[in-house]
């Protein structure tokens, strides 16, 4: 037991390193490819309200959804989260990003539609201290905590701390929208901005929310029999309903951008409301999730299946050309006299000591139309000056450069296997009457197959995930799926899609590995000895 613990301690640094830098990222990637928390986290109220809506009618949702959207979006805008949500939804339907961005800018204007008349009715509504007094009370602790949690999830910020405000239970019951909007404001002002709630003027959304409450006849009658703080101002507002806007939030949103009235937009939001989504994976195989079910994307938008097939085929071509070029070299290495072999070995290893980028750039110099290879071919007269070979920025370039770069990974395992095949086998074959070719093909080659297997696995798996070389010499026809993954990670920032593509790649590689094990047997793979 003690011995085992000690042994474990010895491997612990590596184990921890592997777990932290390898296993955790892979798991995180797998998770990210289906994760969709951002929609339910950013607009939680809207998502719940939207679940009642039947998108198949072609009608936009009810007023209730827009009210929730306003409350959700207003605090999201304060936390600058609404653009992220827009970006996320834009993956599924173009135009949603700008819709959220522009709407975010006009949320204050929408609130002011109610704020201005309310302040005209009773100037008390201008005062932050008046609002604080009216909203404060007892019994709203649970309500405060619920809102605190929602806002923390939405903004991904630490929202713990004293707010200096507890909503009144009476107000929560009487003015539910206003209580939500004001509590959100109080939390944000106290904790994120570090202000005293009583001294701050409330958000425009609070006025909007009061407007929402005042449309409810039950609320109006409750206000009229209400006698707590701010009762007179509320009763004045209730008495002058005709001064408030005579339209709802659906109209207000649609006025800002007519897309808010589109059932299609809402269908997309509803479709991506759950916190897990198959959307990224469907995207990765050129499909899309529509309200009518899973559909293929239009032909002109299908790229990923093409890229996956291309990656697989080109990785196979590269592996095959590595075998063709590497086998004779490995054979020479294993059979030449020691001195010559070690010089050859240095030549094989030399590329390893050169930066990958330098090697690839060197291929750029060689392969371009005005490059070394074309110049020589033209000079020798094999190729017309007018139609020089296009060796770069296409699949040919990628295959040439990657074969060269991955060649050592084929040669080294082949060499180490060939080194263990005693020359007496071929001699025995010849003494038994086999020609040189038969001796090689029937006796030597079968014994070198484990080396080919090991080299092929190495080269194929490296090739399938390669990215720098295709990026530099591949143009558009020669890029791999990894280039697309890199693009989504660093440029489009669609990490979910990148994760889904990566997961598919991982599964494909594991699947091929499994097939290889079934056909050749992984025990037959030798890297040496």
């Amino acid at each position: 037991m003690r011995q085992k613990m000690r042994a474990l301690m010895l491997v612990a640094p590596l184990l921890i390193f592997v777990v932290v830098t390898f296993i955790v990222p892979i798991l995180s990637m797998l998770f990210r490819s289906v994760e969709n928390d951002i929609v339910p986290n950013t607009i939680p109220g809207t998502v719940i309200a939207l679940s009642q809506w039947d998108g198949s009618t072609g009608e936009p949702p009810q007023e209730n959804v827009y009210r929730n959207l306003y409350i959700d979006l207003f605090k999201a805008e304060e936390a600058k989260q609404h653009t992220r949500l827009g970006t996320r939804l834009n993956y599924e339907q173009t135009g949603l990003s700008s819709l959220f961005r522009t709407t975010g800018r006009s949320l204050d204007d929408i609130g002011e539609l109610w704020q201005d008349p309310l302040e005209d009715i009773d100037p008390n509504f201008e005062e932050g201290s008046f609002w604080f007094e009216m909203m404060s009370g007892t019994g709203g602790e649970d309500f405060l905590e619920t809102r605190r949690e929602l806002i923390a999830t939405m903004s991904d910020e630490d929202m713990t701390g004293d707010v200096g405000f507890v909503p009144s239970m009476k107000i929560i019951e009487m003015l539910p929208w206003t209580a939500r909007a004001y509590t959100d404001f109080a939390l944000w002002a106290a904790i994120r901005d570090g202000d005293t709630v009583a001294e701050e003027d409330p958000w425009e959304s609070v006025y909007g929310a009061l407007g929402m409450d005042l449309t409810n006849p039950d609320t109006v009658s409750a206000i009229n029999s209400y006698s707590g703080a701010g009762a007179s101002a509320l009763q004045a507002a209730a008495a002058n309903l005709d001064q408030l806007p005579q339209f709802g939030f659906r109209e207000a949103f649609t006025e800002e951008d007519k897309d808010w009235g589109s059932a299609k937009v809402w269908a997309t939001i509803k479709l991506y409301s759950p916190s897990m989504t198959p959307g990224y994976f469907l995207n990765s195989v050129d499909m899309t999730l529509t309200p009518d079910g899973i559909e293929m994307k239009p032909d002109n938008q299908q790229i990923y299946t093409t890229l996956f097939t291309r990656t697989l085929i080109m990785a196979l071509i590269i592996t095959a050309s590595c075998i063709l070029l590497g086998y004779p070299v490995a054979w020479l290495l294993a059979n030449l006299p020691m001195r010559t072999a070690s010089i050859l070995m240095i030549l094989v290893l030399l590329p390893f000591w050169t930066s990958l980028l330098v090697r690839t750039s060197a291929w750029k110099v060689l392969l371009q139309q005005q490059g070394v290879i074309n110049e020589i071919l033209v000079w020798l007269g094999f190729v017309n000056d007018a139609d020089r070979l296009i060796l770069m920025n296409n699949a040919t370039g990628t295959v040439i450069a990657m074969t060269h770069i991955l060649l050592p990974f084929m040669i080294l395992p082949l060499y180490s296997v060939m080194k263990t095949i005693p020359p007496s086998y071929q001699r025995a074959a010849k003494s038994l009457g086999a020609t040189n070719w038969t001796a090689f093909w029937r006796v030597y080659f079968p014994q070198s197959v484990p080396g080919i297997g090991a080299g092929s696995i190495l080269v194929f798996i490296l090739a399938i995930g390669y990215y720098i070389t295709p990026e530099i010499v591949g143009g558009t026809d020669g890029v791999f799926i990894s280039n697309r993954i890199a693009y989504h990670i660093s440029s489009s920032l669609n990490w979910g899609l990148a994760a889904a593509l990566g997961s598919i790649l991982l599964v494909v590689v594991l699947g091929l590995y499994w097939c290889y094990d079934k056909i050749v047997g992984i025990d037959n793979v030798k890297l040496g000895g």
Binding site: P422, S424, Y425, R427, A428, A429, K430, S431, L432, G433, A434, T435, N436, T438, A439, R442, V443, P446, Q447
Partner: protein, 367 residues
């Protein structure tokens, strides 16, 4: 020589030389003639050129100079696969990716024999080495001795007239080796095939062969049947290399026909058979086999020559006694006596008289 062996030359080396680097010769002027059906062993220390000779015969090395003939035809320019020579390699060289049956069928397959004929021959060859039930196994699943038998069967399955064996028993333990030695010779004689066997183990060479070629320094030092080799070595290298041997150094005093007189460095004068000494005054090394020395007065032949000796060490070895003596200034003089009921056990420190027949005492070169 085996029964039925003709005297017509089957394998011939004529003035064969081999050099790997173009400067030093590994094989120097090799001449050898083997009749059909003979079992010939090439014996020698490592680096003596015996394996090179075998490889030249097999076709894996080319002779730098000279002619190698098989059945009267020069095979210098014939590639190994057309020579039709069976070969057993040091580590058997059974193809690991094929079953035993496939290994045996390989030479038949490349000769394009029919499937049925292949099967029949493979079966016969496996039965011959008592491995009939192992056809479906892989070489790695067999023991060393079994692999050895399979290698032998594979070298014989296509019925070659000449079989070469390159230290085939080197990897086996002593008991198995002795058993296989017997089986190989038995099989070779039974099938009447000509065999060239390479080894550095002199016991193996003596027990198996019709004739033994002792190699040293790229030359055949002596080519003779085992008994001749042991009892009548032609030079001091062969005398030293084959079996145990006592040497006494001295100068030739007189040569008359079949005997010569040698004065040892200690002053004693003895009679010996002159082997490769030709003139009086030449330095010589006199060789006597330990078991030909007698100290029991009753058994001593009346013509035997006697010398004084001091017993230094007595070793009991079971079947024999081995006694180390000081004779004529040589501290390493060994005698071997059979452990018989009436045999005397010598005690160290005593002075005795030893003797031998002059014909057992051979005056050889001093180098």
């Amino acid at each position: 020589m085996a029964d039925g062996a003709s005297n017509e030359a089957f394998v011939e080396f004529e003035r064969v030389q081999k050099s790997y680097d173009g400067e030093s010769l590994v094989v120097k002027d090799l001449n050898l003639t083997m009749p059909k059906g003979e079992f010939l062993t090439m014996l020698g220390p490592s680096g003596s050129g015996k394996t090179t000779c075998l490889m030249m015969l097999a076709g894996f090395e080319t002779a730098t100079h000279g002619d190698i003939r098989l059945g009267g035809v020069s095979i210098n320019d014939i590639p190994p696969h057309k020579r039709g020579i069976g070969m057993v390699f040091q580590n058997y060289a059974l193809f690991p990716h094929m079953t035993i049956a496939e290994n045996l069928a390989f030479p038949l397959e490349v000769r394009k024999l029919g499937k049925a004929e292949q099967e029949e021959k493979v079966k016969r060859a496996l039965d011959m080495v008592e491995m009939g039930s192992f056809g479906g196994r892989r070489p790695a699943q067999l023991s060393g001795g079994q692999q050895q038998r399979v290698a032998l069967a594979r070298a014989l399955v296509f019925e070659p007239e000449l079989v070469l064996m390159d230290e085939p028993l080197g990897a086996l333990d002593k008991q198995l080796r002795e058993k296989m030695q017997f089986e190989i010779t038995h099989l070779a004689h039974q099938l009447g095939i000509t065999t060239v066997y390479v080894t550095h183990d002199q016991t193996e060479a003596l027990t198996m062969s019709d004739r033994v070629a002792v190699f040293d320094d790229g030359r055949i030092q002596q080519l003779a049947p085992p008994d001749k080799l042991y009892e009548a070595p032609e030079n001091s290298f062969v005398a030293q290399f084959i079996g145990e041997n006592n040497t006494l150094e001295g100068v030739v005093k007189e040569i008359k026909g079949n005997t010569c007189v040698v004065q040892l460095d200690g002053g004693e004068v003895i009679d010996a058979v002159p082997v490769n000494v030709s003139e009086v005054g030449e330095r010589t090394r006199v060789s006597i086999r330990p078991e030909r020395v007698e100290y029991n007065r009753d058994r001593l032949h009346e013509d035997a020559h006697t010398l004084k000796a001091e017993v230094l060490e007595f070793i009991y070895m079971g079947d024999i006694f081995r006694t180390r003596l000081r004779v004529a200034g040589n501290d390493e003089f060994i005698i071997k006596t059979r452990n018989a009921p009436d045999q005397v056990r010598l005690t160290p420190g005593t002075e005795i008289e030893i003797g031998w027949l002059a014909e057992d005492c051979r005056a050889l070169d001093a180098t």
